[in-house]
């Protein structure tokens, strides 16, 4: 057995601690050690975006980050997106636009879309498509996903005025 290292981090605003083997990814730690299975593994190689999380404000694939690197970091996952039982506008718009079918890629798409709107409150369709190009969806053809993200962006802009 390899030795396990003690990690402290902040996940969705709460302090967490867990033990990690040397090769454990942040995704595995979130899912297996912390029970946060909303982040999905679709490829394990950073190609599908289903494991998207935000670390210290930056969108990453959690399958490409070692859990050991999470020490002291602030991590946001899909589980922290809603405010209690009030959905985030992106979550609500995904439902209103029927922007999901199987729903497997949805957590990653939502986290990536939130990172987009955090950085750019008024993205064009093209900017939205390129930002989300790292999140594979095989069900929807992306049409309703793009509409939902842009609609949520519009609503969030309204709320700021």
């Amino acid at each position: 057995m390899t030795s396990r290292r003690h990690i402290s981090a902040t996940v969705n605003g709460d302090p967490v601690e867990f033990l990690s083997e040397a090769g454990t990814t942040l995704l595995d730690a979130l899912r297996d050690e912390l029970g946060l299975t909303g982040s999905k593994e679709g490829c394990g190689s950073g190609d599908c975006g289903a494991c998207s999380v935000i670390v210290d404000g930056r969108l990453i694939c959690s399958c490409l980050m070692l859990a050991a690197e999470a020490e002291g970091r602030r991590i946001e996952t899909i589980e922290g997106m809603a405010d209690g039982s009030t959905l985030h506008p992106l979550q609500r718009k995904f439902l209103e636009h029927a922007a999901l079918q199987c729903g497997f890629c949805t957590p990653g798409l939502l986290v990536a879309a939130k990172a987009l709107l955090d950085a750019n409150p008024d993205p064009s369709e093209s900017e939205t498509r390129y930002w989300l190009a790292g999140n594979l969806c095989r069900c929807t053809g992306y049409d309703k996903v793009i509409r939902a993200v842009m609609d949520a962006a519009a609503e969030l802009r309204q709320a700021r005025v």
Partner: protein
């Protein structure tokens, strides 16, 4: 309302045809939905598979002793741990499966037939120990020559995969084994005479590459085997009853001893209509005495599951100057992968299904190759044959100087025409879909330099089949709908909507669940575009039985004949004027009194749904080809489809858009690439390139509704038709843009560059 509707209800609908929030939506946008890999049990072991590195080899020996001796390893299995099954065909919905082949695909016995074929599996207390155990298993192979190309596999001197395989469908039984598992033929009229009448003929030879369904969720399951033989499986699949049946057969267990609970499924597209992991997880659990979880990596998904066939399609069409087709000859050669069972039969039956052709022959070859056994992929076989036929139709229109939609209209099947595959069409909406694209502004929009427009059509049968549904009314008058069909794309919403419509409840008062195999009656898997049609029919009939019962209960309370009670807007209404002062009895009021009127309110219906209306689609695609790089950009895409009746139009649109996107990937990017040793070279999403958001424009769906009289609300299947036309729609657009017919998919930049450079 009669107990069973004799014609579809299309008027005065309050719920059907609206766009409510899906009932499972909140779970899916918050990360709470439990998919295959998200389920865990206490004391669970990790199961992993040792796979063949060779495309074709005899297994000389497998030594598992060192792996078993490793601390933390609790079970090691090989084919020796499974019964050696006899060859037996099992009808499983969309396609038949041979149980022996199914078992051998899960675990190789004697021979490996493709790179990635499972040879052993382990269960250990951790993932890293399981990996170490796999490395300690020694397999000695005698490597054999392999063959993957479909035509090479058909040649007389090709390496033979199965010594017992003799071609079916020949006039005389062959005297030696062959990789051609089957030859099938559809014929009508006099082909020679038909071509003799033709004033114009076109011919083409087309190829498609093997492509994967590409669901984002890898296969995953947990299995727990109890000492008394009762076991449980939680898995992501298109049918929990399919999993139960296959596990029972492969392991020699009683079906009633296997309880399969479906997790959420992260896409299937046909690829999860079979088993890979579940029988192994059960065998590992039996040996270890602990629950075992198995999750595939993406590389395993590519190397050992799916895909659909790579194929060769030959098409010859003959027509009169006015466009009337006089003869068609189609030859289809489909890779089956390691075991017989390509979708060439469906490819043959759909090839000419859009056209009324007096003289034709369609010949199909099902060919085994040293590649993963193909699995169903959305309208299995149809996109491949349609690619050939629709490319040839485009050439024919060009030869004739005719508008491509007009040529298709001229030869279109319509009600009363006997389909090329046999039955007579009734209530089809094919002409309406053609009109829809012909009338759409897209068809007349101007194009710029290096741009081109393509048109193509497609057909899928849609199926019905066996389904069970139960509707239970709670004490407050809310309802639960229970079905046995995994919800892949929003079917819970349509099930709840149909029940709500019949009961007269708002959609929020009807909650649908997908139950395990011990909690609801048998249902065929979610596939063949059958769920909204067939399971929806069972749901509707169950709700209708409840309405009949509610009217009886109200009549009893009011002490009037049941004929004096109607059910309107979710309440019993007394038609007897003398007693009208009693007011309506709502479902909630009736539910509160159920103990005095016959007990709990609920109904279950099991049926075999007949009369799934066939589906037709007609697509327009605009592309721009970059003459320097050969890259194709999809500029605009419009897809019309007859769906009978859209129960939830937003999810119908989503099916159309998703099918188109997969078809575009098939046309432009996707392919299995093998090295000279027969190993897949691009077994990952980086190199196997499915379309991403920046590859696609908005995809405009046009919903055409020609009601299906056999469904209570007129629905036809939706999900499969939209992947049929895009391969040719894209290729025809590229033809228009560059002036050269491209016949080999995918239309990747190097191929197009080569053609442009040679122009």
């Amino acid at each position: 309302m009669s107990e069973v509707m004799d014609r579809p209800q299309t008027l005065n609908l309050k719920v059907v045809g609206t766009r409510p929030i899906r009932p499972d939506g909140a779970d899916k946008v918050t990360g709470k939905a439990t998919f295959g890999a998200d389920f865990s049990m206490p004391g669970m072991l990790v199961g992993k598979i040792k796979r063949s590195p060779h495309a074709h080899a005899r297994i000389v020996s497998i030594d598992t002793k060192k792996a078993l001796a490793l601390a933390g390893v609790k079970a090691v299995i090989t084919a020796a741990d499974f019964p050696d099954l006899a060859s037996e065909e099992y009808e499983a919905g969309e396609s038949a499966a041979n149980l022996r082949d199914l078992a051998l695909n899960c675990m190789a016995r004697g021979k490996v037939l493709y790179d990635g074929h499972a040879v052993a599996a382990v269960a250990a207390t951790s993932s890293s120990i399981a990996d170490a155990a796999l490395a300690l298993i020694t397999v000695t192979y005698d490597v054999l020559p392999h063959v993957i190309d479909v035509e090479a596999a058909m040649e007389a001197g090709a390496p033979v995969l199965h010594a017992h395989l003799f071609t079916e469908g020949l006039e005389t039984k062959p005297d030696r084994p062959s990789n051609i598992a089957k030859r099938n033929e559809l014929m009508r009229g006099d082909l020679e005479a038909g071509f003799a009448q033709a004033e114009v003929t076109v011919e083409g030879r087309y190829t498609t590459a093997a492509v994967h369904q590409g669901y984002i969720e890898p296969h995953a399951c947990v299995a727990a085997f109890a000492p008394d033989g009762q076991c449980q499986v939680w898995s992501s699949s298109q049918g929990q009853f399919m999993v139960r049946t296959y596990c029972a057969k492969i392991l020699g267990l009683e079906a009633s001893n296997i309880r399969v609970t479906p997790t959420e499924i992260g896409g299937g597209f046909g690829g999860k209509t079979t088993v890979y992991l579940e029988p192994l997880a059960l065998a590992l659990s039996r040996q270890s005495g602990a629950p075992v979880k198995m999750v595939m990596t993406r590389e395993e998904v590519f190397r050992a599951t799916g895909p659909t066939s790579g194929a060769v399609i030959e098409v010859k069409l003959g027509a009169k100057r006015d466009g009337a087709i006089t003869a068609a000859r189609v030859v289809l050669k489909y890779q089956a992968g390691a075991f017989p069972g390509s979708p060439v039969g469906a490819g043959s039956m759909t090839a000419l299904a859009c056209y009324d052709v007096p003289n034709f022959s369609v010949t199909g070859f099902d060919v085994v190759t040293n590649s993963p056994k193909v699995a169903a992929y959305r309208a299995p076989g149809a996109p491949i044959s349609a690619f050939g036929v629709e490319s040839a139709m485009d050439d024919l229109a060009r030869e004739l100087g005719m508008d491509p939609i007009a040529l298709r209209r001229k030869n279109a099947v319509r009600d009363g025409v006997k389909a090329a595959y046999g039955p007579t069409f009734r209530n089809i909406g094919y002409l309406e879909t053609l009109e829809a694209i012909a009338d759409h502004p897209h068809y007349k929009a101007p194009l710029g330099p290096n741009q081109g427009r393509g048109v193509a059509v497609g057909f899928w049968f849609n199926v019905g089949g066996e389904s069970t549904a139960a509707v239970q009314v709670g004490e407050d008058g809310s309802a639960v709908v229970v079905t046995g069909n995994p919800d892949i794309g929003g079917s819970r919403a349509s099930m709840a909507m149909m029940a709500a419509e019949v009961l007269g409840l708002p959609i929020e008062k009807v909650r649908p669940i997908v139950a395990d195999t011990a909690s609801i009656g048998f249902s065929m898997l979610t596939g063949g575009s059958r769920t909204t049609f067939a399971t929806g029919m069972a749901v509707t009939q169950a709700a209708q039985k409840i309405v009949v019962d509610l009217k009886r209960r109200a009549a009893q309370i009011w002490d009037v004949p049941v004929e004096q009670v109607d059910w309107i807007n979710g309440a019993a209404v007394c038609l007897d004027a003398a007693k009208a002062d009693k007011g309506d009895l709502t479902l909630a009021a009736l539910a509160a009194q159920s103990a005095r009127t016959g007990g709990p309110i609920g109904a279950q219906v099991s049926l075999t749904a007949q009369g799934a209306g066939p589906g037709f689609g007609a697509h327009i695609c605009d592309v721009e080809v970059d003459p320097e790089t050969g890259h194709v950009t999809i500029l605009r895409y419009t897809a019309a489809q007859d769906v009978g009746r859209a129960i939830h139009p937003a999810y119908v649109e989503g099916q159309i858009q998703g099918g188109v996107a997969q078809g575009i990937g098939w046309a432009l990017n996707e392919e299995y690439v093998f090295d000279s040793e027969g190993r897949m070279e691009n077994a990952g999403f980086l190199d196997y390139r499915v379309p991403v958001a920046s590859d696609l424009p908005m995809i405009e769906p046009i919903i055409v509704e020609v009601a299906n009289p056999r469904h209570p609300f007129g629905a036809k299947g939706v999900g499969e038709v939209p992947i049929v036309p895009p391969l040719a729609a894209v290729a025809n657009a590229v033809r228009a843009a560059i002036g050269v017919r491209m016949t080999d998919l995918p239309l990747s930049p190097p191929k197009i560059r080569a053609v442009i450079d040679a122009r």
